[in-house]
């Protein structure tokens, strides 16, 4: 079993007067093979949870378990082989002077894989890019193609858990559809576990089975996607988010 369990997680930045509590007493669990969504507005702490998991924040307390193993202050190579992350902005998360081939071979090499050449061809094929993309630089790729490369890089160490931080918010809707379909297919094919962060409720609703709504660092509600679709919510903030996501409601015209 390689699920994920977080209990009583606190994350803070700064100290004394400047201390900001970004995540407050957050607990949830994601079963192996499940897809879990975190939604909320900017500053609600949803991305910070992913960063805490991957060891990118210095100050945290609480307990995080990945596949039954407790996480300490430092992450091991073994951890990164199991958990990988796809970032929001494919324009910023790929090295501008490394070709696709370099990006992927470095990851594979660092994780001690053999037959790197064959694996790269396979990875590019898996994310729907042909071998012709192998020796291109990021600036020779469109936004959607870059995000496919970022996904290929995340898949390179054959992880079990994929953390997705707003993977499509920088893309056009037609490209977003392609990437979301790819993610759904990959999850089916590789039995992956997803934790997805997004501000777009429709995207999370499409991808995830269970969804946590966050506000000001706290989880205000964890609900199933079926409840979300039928607006069955107990919390006023969730209701407010759901209503705003359905479009603009005109206030009755004046005069």
């Amino acid at each position: 079993m390689s699920g994920l369990e977080i209990s009583h997680l606190d994350v803070w930045f700064g100290s004394g007067h400047d201390r900001v509590d970004a995540v407050k007493d957050v607990s949830f669990r994601v079963d192996s093979g499940a897809s879990f969504g975190l939604v909320g507005e900017s500053g609600s702490g949803k991305s910070t949870i992913l960063r805490a998991l991957t060891g990118l924040v210095p100050n945290w307390s609480g307990e995080m378990l990945v596949a039954g193993e407790k996480l300490g202050k430092k992450r091991t190579a073994q951890f990164y082989k199991k958990v990988q992350m796809v970032f929001q902005d494919p324009y910023a998360s790929l090295h501008p002077r490394h070709t696709v081939d370099q990006v992927l071979s470095e990851t594979l090499y660092l994780h001690g894989f053999d037959a790197i050449d064959r694996r790269i061809v396979k990875l590019l094929d898996d994310v729907g890019l042909g071998p012709s993309f192998r020796f291109r630089y990021p600036h020779q790729l469109s936004g959607g193609q870059r995000q496919r490369v970022a996904i290929a890089r995340a898949l390179a160490p054959e992880p079990e858990i994929l953390l997705l931080d707003e993977p499509t918010s920088a893309l056009d809707v037609s490209v977003q559809a392609e990437i979301l379909n790819l993610l759904v297919d990959l999850r089916m094919a590789r039995k992956l576990t997803y934790v997805m962060v997004s501000h777009d409720l429709a995207v999370v609703g499409h991808m995830c089975e269970r969804i946590a709504v966050m506000q000001l660092g706290e989880i205000v509600e964890i609900m199933s996607v079926a409840d979300m679709r039928t607006m069955k919510t107990s919390h006023p903030y969730t209701k407010h988010l759901l209503e705003s996501s359905l479009g603009y409601k005109r206030v009755e015209s004046i005069g």
Binding site: Q176, E178, N181, V184, L201, A202
Partner: protein
Amino acid sequence: MLEQQDKLLDVQNLWVKFPTRSGVFDAVRGISFSLGKERLGIVGESGSGKSMTGRAILRLIRKPGIVSADRIMLHDKDLMTMSEREMRKVRGQRISMVMQDPKFSLNPVMTVGEQIMEAYAQHAKASKADVKRKALDMLEAVSIRDPERVFRAYPHEMSGGMGQRIMIAMMLIPNPEILIADEPTSALDVSVQTQVLSIMDRLVQERGMGLIFISHDLNLVSSFCDRVLIMYAGRIVETCRADKLHEARHPYTRGLLNSLPRLTEPRERLDVLKRDPAWREAQSVSGAS
């Protein structure tokens, strides 16, 4: 059809071209549309020419970009034949523009109050005390709770939603006839987005302005605007009433709508847009109201 006098803006055969090393790139390819006292949405993907259209109306395309048009009529005056000096009187005073990101569009080393006062003093002759009062009133009109404090603050002390409202205040203070809003809420959270939209909506209605609302968000445009132009590769492929957007006919518009995940209608897979080269070649549809 609108009567001639109700037409605020009438654009005929607008082109925006950029010469590059490998030939001329046409960002906007001969579009025509008009604007009355209404909320006109322009939607399309990145690179469809929607932002370029907004900027071209104000002749804000930087060199070496070229704007050409048969005419861009603001009432009975043709903006294309105006001198740069005359254009400056139009910008801000008669047509103003709200940009996408307040972080890059407000002056970081000037207080909010000074910037708003400057926007007003450019176009109106009034005493300093009057200008200040007007600026504070405007901040209040965009639902800023403590106008006195915000007046003295610098842009970096403001949140994104407040920055956007300050920009709207600045753009509306000279009381323009037309407001061009280029993705005014894309950088904002959903709940702040609703707030900013309702402020714009109210001001447009109260003042009888024409609004050009440029956005990539189909749902938002269909619920906020009166009429929509759908752009693809620099041309208008379809135009329809905003509330009828979901019945749009053109395969491109349909493709975009179907590629959106929907909360209320779950689907296994999202439809992927298949681009037909013929869409690029098809003639532009007229966007006259």
